[in-house]
Symmetry: C2
């Protein structure tokens, strides 16, 4: 280890990643099965030690890529967990990051310290290593809060989508059914969507109107925030 | 230094505190003048190294107390700053915390690594050590965002207050004048205040109606969030 300039005790510093994946039916989260002690064989969030020459976010992206082969360009910092006893072996402080992606666009493969990798429904997780259940719960709460304050769906839906598809994104994240009329009225009042002169193609049911996001307004609302009371 | 279990390079870990103080005229922030290198003589946020046996928030409270003698029971985690070059001597990652207090209730006295301590208007800060200007800006932005999403004032105003006093809190934090009629209409529509059957005492101008917060609603709105478009 390099010579230290500051003569203070140093906790270990790690990063952990909560990657939420949305598919047609559920909100899932990406986990790895640990290959090494402590907690070998146990499922955990992907993550690992920060290297001296990389930023925290770069460390999170690198660890995620190494362990799961997922390459995610933007991870948002969630919170730093520094409980004294969160690792049985040593004092370890972890900076947690999170992201929400379209699950089918991201194929995960285990490597590095991961024996296996898998997507699990957020409501049906295996027991997790360390305090990862606490981190997971904080990330889930942040995500549910976020959909109330910021528009979502841009990276999750096709360019042209129906209101039913958008409602389904909200329902999956919030894990509850929303009233169709109420949802439509509220989302349209946000002035966020552009109604297209097109309808769905090749569906058995009555073809629904297609919409797209007004990108400028989407970005402005992402920044300013709104309150979507659903 | 104790023997390390994990054989990975270890950055230093510090905490820094952004304490906003509100008084009659301005939003201020608590700074210390550093007594030691690097940046000796420079103003900085209070903070320091995390000890092995304490949580991050406990470290923040301890450092704040040691350097400024301020005892603040609740600090909220802001963000963790881990840029590779943020300290000229070593890799130092810092977990930043923030709080908003009534300035006159908190008398600061320099000690420990602080040569001096002082409250500075957020809009007129001296040059700061390290990346503390970045941390300061992030905290200021978080605070301004917070007043749009959560009720404020409970810890900042007397139990009974006028709408003018409450408006002044918002104006000071947001650093701009608000339209009186509009502010009153909006804050009353939040259903957060209880109108009392009392008016101000001993004022030269026409005595204004007094209000108090409905504590239950205040807490519920703090949790659920609202959108106060001002």
């Amino acid at each position: 280890m390099a010579r230290h300039t500051y003569d203070y005790p140093r906790p270990c510093l790690t990063v952990d990643c909560v990657v939420f994946g949305l598919d047609e039916t559920a909100l899932q989260v990406l986990l790895i099965q640990r290959a090494i002690e402590p907690h070998a064989g146990c499922w955990a969030l992907p993550g690992g030690f920060v290297e001296m020459g990389e930023s925290l976010e770069a460390a999170a992206r690198r660890e995620l890529q190494e362990e799961t082969s997922l390459d995610i360009s933007y991870l948002e910092q969630l919170y730093t967990f520094g409980g004294v006893d969160r690792d049985p072996r040593d004092r370890v402080v972890t900076v947690a990051y999170y992201a929400l992606v379209k699950r089918l666009d991201h194929v995960a493969r285990a490597s590095s310290d991961a024996r296996q990798v898998g997507w699990f429904p957020v409501n049906d997780l295996p027991p997790l290593a360390f305090d990862h259940e606490v981190i997971m719960a904080a990330a889930h709460e942040r995500l549910r809060g976020k959909v109330r304050y910021q528009p979502i769906g841009f990276e999750l839906l096709p360019t042209k989508f129906t209101l039913r598809q958008l409602q389904h994104v909200y329902e999956t994240i919030l894990d509850r059914a929303l009233d169709k009329r109420n949802f439509r009225k509220k989302i349209l009042s946000m002035d966020l969507l552009i109604e297209l002169d097109e309808t769905e193609q090749g569906v058995a049911h009555r073809a629904a109107r297609l919409y797209r996001f007004d990108r400028r307004k989407y970005e402005r609302l992402s920044k300013r925030g709104f309150l979507f009371e659903i």
